[in-house]
């Protein structure tokens, strides 16, 4: 009996957005099918992996991932260049962690200088992230946006508490913007609407439905992403037709499973591969549920995810 594949085609389509400059440009989104369903429709843009780099040394990262960057993490630009040239990063995510009042309270001016230096040194797209302190982020990201004017970089994250200032800065400097809300499809939709009502072009928006780590809320992010993607495609909801971001590394590398030595918990097995697996499994689950852009830390995890993506293309 010949099998008739029950294909599904949708009326909706995710906006295709380019980030970065010249040869380094990366294209996200553009698909009109569920993730990797190229067997039933168009799925042009491949998901991209950005390596996370911080403006201050990663003292808060566990040894297994800090070690990899031991020789370069003293300076964010050296660190980023290493990720671009030696690790094959599709993009660099610069997290301005040191601007947080509890982590050194680095000024907006100095943060902007780091952004300028970074842009002069790298070819791949730059994603500029605040320290997730809603108030401080407004001043830091406004200056950072000016430093990145017309470089087609990405800036974020705009949240309910501070989106007006950050979206205005992105608009004034012609940047792409990440909008983040907390694990709820309606909150994501609402924030996207508020931002576009300011006159911000929806084709420049990336949605972050908020990430989480394997075993620490993964199922929430996974399902919110699936629901957002279904609403965008099947219900043709234009307010959710944005590429999605999964900011994986920062959630993964703080849980116990990526840190506890094997000597303490023999039944958990080898720490090195356990940590890498934790990040890679988390990231690949979010790819399957809808992420177009990942922010990751460990090169081995990113490498495994790349291989997985390549295999996903084989149909």
């Amino acid at each position: 009996m010949p099998f008739t594949p029950p294909k599904e085609s949708f009326s909706g389509k995710i906006c295709e957005i380019g980030i970065g400059r010249g040869d380094g440009t990366v294209s996200l989104g553009g698909q009109s099918v569920m993730p990797f369903h190229s067997f039933e429709g168009a799925a042009p843009g491949k998901p991209a992996i950005a390596f996370e780099v911080q403006d201050v040394p990663p003292d808060d990262w566990p040894e297994t991932v800090k070690d990899v960057f031991r020789d370069v993490s003293g300076d964010p630009v050296t660190w980023a260049a290493y990720c671009q040239d030696s690790l094959g990063a599709d993009a660099i995510a610069l997290r301005l962690a040191g601007t947080h009042p509890d982590r050194g309270d680095i000024s907006a001016e100095r943060a902007a200088e780091t952004v300028s230096r970074m842009l002069a040194a790298i070819k791949v797209p730059l994603i500029i992230l605040g320290s997730n302190h809603a108030e401080k982020d407004t001043s830091v990201l406004v200056r950072a946006a000016e430093a990145a004017k017309q470089t087609n970089s990405v800036i974020g994250k705009a949240q309910e508490a501070n989106y007006k200032t950050i979206a205005a800065a992105a608009m004034a400097n012609d940047l792409k913007l990440i909008a983040m809300s907390e694990l709820d499809i309606n909150l994501s939709k609402q924030l996207n609407i508020l931002i576009t009502q300011m006159g911000f072009d929806r084709e420049k928006l990336i949605t972050d439905p908020m990430s989480s780590a394997l075993s620490y809320g993964l199922e929430y992010t996974y399902s919110v992403m699936e629901r957002i993607r279904l609403a965008a495609l099947a219900q043709n909801d234009p307010t959710l037709q944005t590429p999605m971001l999964a900011d994986v590394g920062m959630y993964v590398w703080k849980v116990k499973e990526t840190q506890a030595p094997e000597a303490d918990l023999p039944e958990w097995g080898e720490l090195g591969r356990r940590g890498v697996a934790w990040e890679a499994v988390t990231a690949s689950a979010f790819l399957v549920s809808g992420a177009d852009l990942l922010i990751m830390r460990h090169p081995d995890a990113a490498g495994a995810v790349k291989k997985f993506m390549a295999e996903m293309e084989v149909q």
Binding site: H37, V305, E311
Partner: protein, 446 residues
């Protein structure tokens, strides 16, 4: 397509005799439509109705059990494509492959590893669920030897036999009599003989097709040969093929009620690269496999995959939660520390695990917060000073304690003053933020 309650009702006797345990035939029909009861509960239903309803009320994906006893695995019965619609029903089984070309010592090691893989995770016992024995040598005698080894080294683990040779199948099935094994390897060339062997041993038949067309032909053929229990392999091996075929199979079964594909799916994730194998196995967990076969079951990999399966298979409406009560960890005396947290399973098991690590006996009050984590419950108004004070006040714990002191999670330090106001005579101490700070915190208190 499934029938609606009203369509089912038309076929029932309409006497409202209640023998089915429902107040009316209509109520029974509604339960049937929601698959919350079975047709055999009504003794008076006509043969004609049985035939019509039987076909329509059978679950779209046939329920099949792999193995017997405490470690058996239920498969099939899934009702949705996306986990937010409704809870995924039967968590997929992880199987580790053991080839009959391996040296006996290596095969033994893998079996023992699988048999000892069980760990406790958020209150559930999780393990490598099955052995996949493969007849790589092509030699029936070696295959039989491997099956015998499995039945001594890992006697209660369910087994999947992978062979295309009906003679090898018969021998190995002989050692697994009554154990509800899967006989995997029925293809276009051997299906009649394999179907006979599976039927004789009451085993499930694993179809090894090259593509979806052939898969449908083979399941129809097996059915005509009298085989009822099957697991399906479309031949997909790359991650992309697995996603495509598993999606087609699930959609065809659920949305088209397409019977030739209404069976559990077996996915082969085997890769030489252990990390990539982990990710492809993860895809199997997410996208519709009932059995995932892998080369190796190392502990780091198991932990990640067990956790993923637990996440994907939790109920999207009801977080995993534990009972509200005051738990004793160790043998706390009247001076032992007294702490409070919420009843989200993950929170409870992390906190109680760290208290155990500290080796300091404690009482841990677990307050019902509808299964939310500490910060989520606080943000949702379910872990407030008033509610905490009421819970502690009504618990009657005072009588057991020498001093009235309660340790609260560091993340809700802001509540300490308000709780003291509402619980006169109590001292509120702010604990560390993360639970992994608890051992040092508790030890320092002596």
């Amino acid at each position: 397509m499934a029938l609606t309650g009203v369509e089912i009702f038309k076929l029932l006797p309409k006497t409202n005799c209640k023998k089915c345990g429902q107040p009316t035939c209509l109520a029974f029909a509604m339960k049937l439509a929601q698959r919350q009861t079975s047709l055999d509960k009504c003794p008076d239903v006509s043969e004609e109705a049985k035939e019509k309803l039987g076909a329509a009320s059978a679950p779209p994906i046939r329920p099949i059990t792999l193995g017997t006893g405490a470690k058996c695995v239920k498969m099939g019965e899934e009702m949705v494509l996306f986990r937010h619609e409704k809870k995924f029903v039967n968590p997929c089984a992880f199987a580790v492959e053991i080839k009959d070309t391996l040296a006996t010592a290596d095969a033994e090691r893998k079996m023992e590893e699988a048999a000892a893989s069980e760990i406790d995770r958020v209150g559930q016992k999780l393990r490598v669920d099955a052995l996949y024995l493969s007849n790589d040598s092509g030699d029936p005698a070696r295959f039989l030897e491997l099956a015998r080894l499995a039945s001594t080294k890992a006697p209660d683990l369910p087994v999947i036999l992978g062979t295309v040779n009906p003679d090898a199948a018969e021998g190995a099935l002989g050692t697994l009599a009554g154990k509800k094994a899967v006989l995997y390897g029925a293809n276009a060339g051997n299906i009649s003989a394999m179907a006979e062997k599976a039927k004789a041993a009451k085993a499930t038949l694993g179809i090894a097709a090259k593509n979806m067309d052939e898969l449908c032909e083979l399941t129809e053929k097996a059915k005509s040969l009298g085989v009822e229990d099957m697991v399906l392999d479309s031949g997909a091996r790359s991650a992309g093929e697995i996603l495509r075929d598993n999606t087609y199979m699930r959609r065809a079964a659920l949305k088209k009620n397409f019977k030739p594909l209404g069976f559990p799916v077996i996915t082969f994730a085997n890769r030489a690269d252990g990390m990539l194998e982990t990710l492809v196995a993860g895809l199997g967990v997410e996208k519709y496999a009932s059995i995932v076969v892998m080369n190796e079951a190392e502990r780091w990999k198991n932990l990640a995959l067990f956790s993923l399966r637990q996440n994907i298979y939790t109920d999207p409406q009801v977080p995993m939660q534990v009972q509200q009560k005051i738990y004793k960890i160790g043998e706390p005396g009247p001076k032992a520390p007294f702490l409070i947290t919420t009843n989200f399973s993950l929170t409870f098991f992390i906190v109680s695990g760290e208290i155990e690590n500290s080796k300091v006996a404690c009482r841990l009050a677990v307050m019902d917060s509808e299964g939310l984590s500490v910060l989520t419950a606080w943000a949702a108004g379910k872990f407030t000073a008033g509610k905490i004070a009421q819970f502690i006040g009504e618990s009657g714990i005072e009588g057991e304690l020498e001093q009235r002191e309660l340790v609260i999670p560091g993340y809700v330090a802001i509540l300490s003053g308000a709780i003291e106001d509402k619980l006169p005579g109590w001292k509120i101490t702010v604990g560390p933020r993360e639970a992994n700070g608890l051992p040092a915190f508790l030890k320092a208190r002596g």
